[in-house]
Symmetry: C2
């Protein structure tokens, strides 16, 4: 990469980080816990969100910012679940950035929200470099993708707080070792909290939703502390 | 995107295109047909290549350039199949570029090669923008990724000549319509040649290998024509 290109990349990233920091402050100030979901296309982000929203909606006020390269399909699916959804169509862009998310926050009522899901563009590489103002990142991977993906795409796993292994209902039909996949993920990031889930059977979704609820409670307490 | 950033992006792309054109001329001049394989992580590029190499090796001289963000795992798997393999580790880069591929070509004997597979980094977005000097692009998608991916990530499908649907052995366990997936892909690019394959059962691999052989024969004829 040329020096000029590197400089531009650095400037773009630091401008992004400033905007992300502003969004984070706004969100935390309102006691909103925000999760940035990162995975390959087809790992099951939208389906996991649909199930998660159905489980958590009775107890928490939820909203979604849904990113896609083209189409508003994910946003339309999620709207069916009765939560506010803002769609971001990147028009070819390979990741969401802080500016796009900050603009979406303008259209959402943060004072009527506990938990915001940010569904990133399907891409296991680029989104991990861009802070969006989230409280934490979660990386998803389906059991059909192979055990080695945490080693081959380490940045997303390194920067995530949780790793959701999806589609475990397919395990009987695959040559896939859950133990090896989790081992590989933990070798990249020993701090990862891991969930083995199936949006089809519901396996593991209770633990995942419970963990999210705990994070929201913690965020409320720290937000309230910050306000005093 | 700022005007300055756009300019830099344009310059990077045109420098890439010049290098790609040089590689293409070298490859065609030697009668080498080159395929750039693009898909999400975990769609089965490497496994498809392993099976394809085993099928085609008796009749054609093959080689591989294997790109990965981190690790040389794919290259090591492919080397077991007795063909020359050059690994490119992008170190975080989200796609292969023409410079990396041109450098790999220096280490390969083009005069002892009929068909070169270029396995791109697992990413359905960024690789589609970068010409590597290939004869054509092939996009892969597994049946576990969902029928809508050609609509959500259209660039890769638009620029590909063939679409390989992988892991069709899993269809009995999924809610997935092959017809809808192919319809979506064809709506983006009506010219796509489509293969429904399973590297596990071998389904569809004969048709895929046969099509590749035909492309190689055509390339040899046009290369010979160019040389007269």
């Amino acid at each position: 990469m040329s020096a000029e290109r590197l400089d531009v990349k650095k400037n773009v990233l630091s401008a992004n980080d400033l905007l992300a920091a502003e969004s984070r402050q706004r969100l935390i100030g309102q006691g909103v816990f925000a999760v940035n979901l990162i995975s390959s296309p087809g790992s099951g982000k939208t389906t996991l969100l649909e199930r998660t929203i159905d489980m958590m909606k009775p107890d928490l006020r939820l909203a979604v910012v849904a990113g896609d390269v083209q189409t508003r399909r994910d946003a339309e699916r999620l709207e069916q679940h009765g939560v506010p959804v803002e769609a971001i169509e990147t028009g070819g862009g390979c990741h969401l950035d802080a500016r796009q998310v900050a603009r979406s926050l303008e259209s959402l009522r943060l004072d009527a929200m506990d938990l915001l899901f940010i569904e990133n563009v399907g891409n296991l590489v680029c989104p991990s470099s861009f802070d969006l103002g989230e409280s934490l990142k979660v990386v998803l991977m389906s059991v059909t993708e192979g055990e080695d993906k945490p080693l081959k795409y380490p940045a997303a796993f390194r920067r995530a707080s949780a790793f959701v292994l999806t589609k475990v209902d397919l395990l009987p039909h695959l040559e896939f070792s859950t133990e090896a996949a989790i081992g590989n993920a933990k070798s990249v990031n020993p701090e990862l909290t891991v969930f083995s889930t199936s949006s089809f059977t519901g396996e593991g979704l209770g633990a995942w939703a419970g963990w999210l609820s705990d994070q929201v409670s913690r965020c409320k307490r720290s937000g309230a502390g910050a306000g005093t």
